[in-house]
């Protein structure tokens, strides 16, 4: 709508009360905070037409006013004031630190867990992890168009509990987030529980003591470095990208995955080339891959000894229509018209070493697993369309109108076989993980 206003066309948006602040912040980010809204009490989704008609009738005067009355300047909608230094006093330092944590919570700068104090000395020590100038701008992060300097990343990494070894990894992760194809704005602000899954490959991950084995995504000492890295990414999304819950992150339920979700690939126990090599990087390179994911499903199988049987089990995880990305290709591709980018919906599989050995033992590589899953993970057209807008199918694929006459035809849950990303992660026993993805992963090299 801002683009239409820019072209001289007055606009008004019908939106729900719950999304007013989100709409205003979004409009503010694009330069027009006062963009007129016609506010209805509830979202229009999951409503009967007669209920929608009633809400629109009640909001109709706002529609007319939005198109005919001058646009009022809108007060700042909660964009945090930037004070470069803050001071907290208390009877002792522990009390002052508690006050800092309470204040950060109140300002929305905390993920809810206690934060390490980003003192000048701690930040200086963090900055030693990178050869970059503290003022170097790595990226501008959406949705708030925050300027990601090395120093701001270092501050958030300190708050997450990180050490200097995490800073180059965080810089690479931020470059992934800022890549236009990532369409961060969509994933950060959505009502869906988009969590950035961070996968590290190469020697820099090992140097940072990232866990690739037992309980790599779990709590505890073995994964402490993983926890810190994932947390630093989340805090950076918040305080640098200005992704704040209830303001610019409208997640309906949320997800524990959004606190921290990072690990390394278990390259030592993988029978295949490392994940980053499959994505075109040299084996000796270090990389960070970020793939936004909605949720996780276990890939448990203690019985199978043949690849074909494992595929049957894995396919049951992939055929979950309640997960938004399943067969989303039927109604188009995630697209950001500003950058002319399009994404297919990918899903990431963490195959555990034992299952990987079963595949490799029969000569299966990643491509063969992808092909087998593509052929096996299918559902009838009518089932895949249960929660999708038929008119969106028509808009995206007018050539597929014939499917309406073949509702029982099985269709793949992803657009192409390579929409299944495969990495080897974890310890002993036949339990992997299937991540329902949102769009495509982005990989960046780790540089000092």
């Amino acid at each position: 709508m801002v683009e239409l206003e820019r072209r001289g066309v007055p606009t008004v948006i019908i939106t729900a009360e719950a999304f007013v602040q989100d709409a205003r912040r979004s409009a503010q980010s694009f330069g027009l905070a006062g963009l007129p809204l016609a506010v209805v009490p509830t979202p229009l989704t999951n409503r009967r037409p007669e209920d929608i008609h009633r809400m629109v009738t009640e909001a109709f005067d706002q529609v007319v006013a939005g198109l005919t009355r001058p646009v009022e300047a809108c007060a700042d909608v909660g964009r945090p004031a930037v004070e470069e230094r803050l001071t907290y006093d208390g009877p002792d330092l522990l009390d002052a630190w508690s006050r800092m944590n309470r204040d950060f919570l109140a300002r929305g700068w905390s993920d809810g867990f206690p934060l390490v104090a980003p003192t000048g000395r701690a930040v200086e020590a963090m900055l030693r992890g990178s050869a970059r100038d503290p003022g170097e701008v790595i990226a501008t992060l959406e949705p708030g168009f925050g300027v990601a300097t090395v120093e701001k990343l270092a501050i958030n990494a300190v708050m997450a509990g990180g050490g200097p070894e995490h800073l180059p990894l965080l810089v690479a992760a931020v470059r992934c987030l800022a890549e236009p194809k990532m369409y961060l704005r969509n994933k950060a602000m959505s009502t869906g529980p988009h969590a950035p899954l961070v996968l590290v490959n190469g020697p820099k991950g090992r140097a940072a003591n990232l866990n690739a084995g037992m309980c790599a995504l779990g709590p505890g000492a073995p994964s402490a470095s993983n926890t810190v890295l994932g947390r630093a990414v989340r805090l950076t999304m918040m305080n640098v990208g200005h992704t704040y819950v209830g303001v610019s992150d409208m997640d309906t339920i949320g997800s524990p995955l959004k606190y921290s979700l990072a690990c390394a690939e278990n390259e030592a126990q993988s029978p295949w080339e490392p994940y980053h090599v499959a994505r075109g990087y040299a084996r000796e390179a270090s990389t960070v891959t970020v793939h936004f994911v909605y949720g996780i499903c276990e890939l448990h199988d203690f019985r199978s000894t043949r690849p074909e049987d494992l595929i049957q089990v894995f396919a049951t995880a992939a055929t979950n229509v309640a997960q938004v990305g399943t067969a989303l290709w039927l109604i188009g591709r995630r697209a950001d018209p500003r950058y002319k980018t399009e994404e297919r919906e990918h899903n990431t599989l963490f195959v555990c070493p034992e299952h990987a050995q079963i595949f490799a033992g029969e000569g299966w590589d990643r491509a063969r697993i992808q092909q087998a899953l593509y052929k096996t993970a299918r559902l009838p057209f009518r089932t895949l369309m249960l929660n999708k807008e038929p008119k969106a199918l028509q808009a995206a694929h007018p050539e597929l109108g014939w499917l309406a006459d073949h509702p029982d035809l099985p269709l793949p849950v992803v657009e192409t076989p390579d929409c299944f990303e495969i990495a080897v992660v974890g310890g002993a026993a036949g339990r992997g993980a299937y991540f329902y993805g949102a769009g495509e992963p982005v990989t960046m090299p780790v540089e000092d």
């Binding site: 239409l4 606009t11 999304f19 229009l44 929608i52 501050i155």
Partner: protein
Amino acid sequence: MASLEILSPVANVVEQSVKPAPRLRDLGHATIGLYWNMKAGGDAALDRTEQLLRERFPGARFKRYTGSVGWLMRHCTAEDADRIAAEVDAVVGTTND
């Protein structure tokens, strides 16, 4: 008494500014675009909007739009926006969630 000085984690932002379009004095002879992003329920909201606008402004005319790219949400490309701007005097849109 102890004092803890820390550095702010919050980044400066790149500010943008867009001048709002002049509003219409009267919708009675306007061509109004109704933009649906394809989120469920938005079409019903725009149906009712058109009905109410027709009743109050009998001379108004209407054109329906959706974006040419996207998935759950269909977005306007720059070309879409140019076309819509050339064809209508005002636009009502829906966001839904």
